[in-house]
Point group: C2
Chain length 123, copies 2
Amino acid sequence: MKKKAVINNNLPCKTEITAIKDTMEILSGKWKFHIIGTLSLGKKLRFMDLLREVDGIGTKMLSKELQDLEMNQLISRIVLNTKPVTVEYQITDFGKTLIPIIDEIAKWGIEYRNFVYKNKRRV
Amino acid sequence: MKKKAVINNNLPCKTEITAIKDTMEILSGKWKFHIIGTLSLGKKLRFMDLLREVDGIGTKMLSKELQDLEMNQLISRIVLNTKPVTVEYQITDFGKTLIPIIDEIAKWGIEYRNFVYKNKRRV
DNA sequence: GAAGATAGTTTCCTTTATGAAACTACTTTC
DNA sequence: GAAAGTAGTTTCATAAAGGAAACTATCTTC
């Protein structure tokens, strides 16, 4: 008989694995953290503002990523009745629930630098 | 004069953005969370064990991802003097510092499901 | 009327990621 | 000696992601 997975083959583990997959799919790609992080500072930003704030992104990717985030209700898109039209993007309350994740990840990245630096000195 | 980024154009923000990029690069790809999550349960696992635990992964990807993780000192690889050779993979103490991130992400994924479910009912 | 700003979309191209299958190389079991 | 288990690597192929540049369309300013 073929061997099977044991450790991950129970309901709590499977639920957690699925949850991680879901989250990472929603936050997938090169730019989502950057966009959410920028909007999480609380200001309403227009398309061109974001293009300037998110260093290196182009119009195509910005447009696509904003659509993804809006679809998942993490940001809101409001078209203003100005001429020419302006569009305001804003993080939603639900989007703000991502902030603890972003903070953990940023914190770890800084710890990682310290760790690498310490190891270099020791060797 | 061309407009420039304002919000993200200061040192604390840039440090945070870099830290997030670093972390996400280290954890990039379809399988790293899954592998670390499995090893974070504390047991030593061999290559074939991991192949069975990480549902869907193939030998090539597993081998590559394990190399990446070892290079970043998140897991350790120990070759045992058995015949045929067996290799034990284990999470390092440093690798364990990722657990809070993984927990936050899993927690959020579960909250996300609840949020989507609530919204469906309301509409 | 040309230039520049608003907010994107579309096209074409390159790079990166992923995967299935075959293969190496050694050892034990049937 | 064939089969199956150990731990991978290599090859070939496709899928997904990302990017540069051109383009639509409207409006304001010089």
